[in-house]
């Protein structure tokens, strides 16, 4: 039992890791294609059919580039920071439930690496850790633009984590659980949390844009002001790691949003369709649904990036502290009152 448990989890971890890397890789391709279509262009179409091999060509290019370490940088931190960024981006996938349990004969295989009872807190912690890669990289480069980018990343993350945490508190009032598995199970069929927490979802989404350093909140790497911000001094695959980490972050936060607010692997009509598909393919179809939701969110991330210009720094802070935080507090209070009233009567 023990050894089969380990093997089962190991296979699951490898699959999830591979999937998140492949999705991150093809997100770069999708981003360029989406950007092109939104701007009446074609996008990459030279490498392979429809430019499908573009990510491979890009990866090869990144690997072949000369690797430069600035002479005055603090070498170890400079080397470590991209790895830290990509590591913290990857570990977020561990607690996300990718599907309901598969019943294979007498075995029950959960499609979740680990179901810790504070899953939401874990996600929150990992997201907060994500800024360390950016911060350390920016500081270690010994470049004023990088340092400015790092400072911006840190302050931006601190400002938006508060509103994000408050929106999660309102969600927890509704779900009564911090385990992601239980949160998803509680959204059976159509009872998605976004219907009970629309404002909370909006706040959470805006904050996750800020946490992943995506436009319109991409001030840490703002090209026009900071020449690339925290990764100004990075080259070769270390730069590639940073760019990759951004896309993995995008994938993870899309997965978290789909899980927390859009029912995860639940879909309307799952009680009739699930038994028809059987104990193996029923849960797997749920996983497909979850990935469809994730892809819609990733598309939305890109759609927003190519629509909205970057916020100015003071606007960013205004939005975070003066708009989102009061809104999130109001959301918590209203949710609490409504729940108290509903329980009373």
């Amino acid at each position: 039992m023990e050894i089969s448990f380990v093997i089962e989890k190991f296979i699951l971890v490898v699959i999830i890791f591979a999937i998140s890397l492949v999705i991150a890789m093809y997100s770069t391709y999708a981003e360029r294609k989406v950007a092109a279509f939104l701007q009446d262009r074609l996008g990459p179409d030279r490498a392979g059919p429809f430019g499908m091999f573009q990510p491979l060509a890009d990866g090869l290019k990144m690997l072949m580039k000369e690797e430069i370490v600035p002479a005055e940088s603090s070498r170890w931190l400079f080397m470590m920071a991209p790895g830290l960024a990509i590591f913290t981006a990857c570990i977020g996938t561990a607690v996300i439930p990718w599907g309901s349990d598969i019943h294979l004969g007498s075995r029950i295989i959960p499609l979740q690496v680990t179901d810790i009872n504070v899953g939401v807190l874990y996600i929150f912690g990992v997201v907060s850790l994500g800024v360390y890669g950016v911060m350390i990289g920016g500081w270690a480069s010994n470049n004023k633009y990088s340092l400015l980018g790092a400072i911006r990343a840190a302050s931006q993350n601190i400002s938006y984590e508060i509103a994000m945490g408050l929106s999660i508190i309102a969600l927890l009032l509704v779900t009564n659980s911090m385990s992601l598995k239980e949160i998803v199970e509680g959204q059976h069929g159509w009872h998605w949390n976004v219907l009970y927490q629309p404002l909370g979802f909006l706040i959470f989404m805006v904050c996750s844009f800020a946490e992943t350093n995506r436009a319109p909140f991409d001030l840490p790497e703002c090209e026009t002001e900071l020449i690339g911000g925290y990764h100004t001094e990075y080259s070769s695959m270390k730069l590639g790691f940073y760019l990759f980490a951004e896309y993995i972050n995008m994938f993870v936060s899309s997965a978290v949003m789909a899980t927390l607010y859009f029912g995860g692997y639940n879909y309307p009509g799952m009680d009739t369709l699930g038994p028809i598909l059987g104990p193996v393919f029923g849960p797997l179809f749920g996983t497909v649904i979850l990935f469809a939701k994730i892809f819609i969110f990733i598309f939305f991330f890109m759609w927003v990036r190519w629509t909205i210009p970057r916020f100015r720094y003071d606007q960013l802070m205004d939005l975070g502290w003066k708009v989102l935080m009061p809104l999130a507090i109001a959301n918590v209070i209203i949710t609490g009152i409504v729940i108290a009233i509903v329980e009373k009567f």
Binding site: A36, F37, L38, Q39, D40, R41, L42, D45, W303, V304, W306, T307, I308, L319, V323
Partner: protein, 166 residues
């Protein structure tokens, strides 16, 4: 002081309305605009495979013409080189030998005819100057290259392909 014109306007910066301050209506309309472009036909022409039609007075790469019997029309008179404002054309004339009668139309021909495509400004004066209708700028765009010397086009690149005898 009295203003010189009555065009002066005092601009007042209006405070943002609530709808403007929460950004969302503007963001949603922006998203609508970009989405409408998602379904529009792209303006891109896939250049090397698909080429846009040139205008009728398009001037591209030069070609040295042959007459209806496949003989080169150029007699190396040098008027094109003389007319060229960029001094891009050089040529060396030679006398036709009796056995070369099928190759060249007249007794004198250009043994070397070179155009420096980096100097050429594609003005078309050589075409106008030519009394024998031997040179026309009716070719494609001159392709890019790596070395300057490769832009000096000789007769191998300029002379029209011979007619295929039926």
């Amino acid at each position: 002081m009295e203003p010189l014109t009555n065009k002066k306007k005092i601009l007042v910066q209006k405070p943002l309305t609530f709808a403007e301050r929460i950004y969302l209506p503007a963001i949603l309309s922006g998203l609508g605009i970009t989405m409408s472009h998602f379904f529009k036909k792209e303006a891109t022409i896939r250049y090397p495979e698909v080429q846009r039609e040139m205008s009728i007075n398009w001037r591209g790469m030069h070609s040295l013409k042959r007459d209806e019997d496949g003989k080169e029309r150029c007699t190396a008179c040098g008027l094109c080189a003389l007319s060229c404002p960029a001094e891009a054309i050089t040529m060396i004339a030679a006398e036709r030998k009796p056995e070369e009668k099928d190759l060249y139309r007249e007794e004198k021909y250009a043994s070397v005819y070179e155009i420096n495509m980096l100097r050429c400004i594609f003005c078309g004066l050589c075409e106008e100057a030519c009394p024998k209708e031997a040179i026309y700028l009716d070719g494609p765009i001159v392709p890019a290259d790596y070395l300057r010397k490769d832009f000096i086009y000789g007769k191998d690149k300029l002379v029209e392909q011979p007619l295929v005898k039926k």
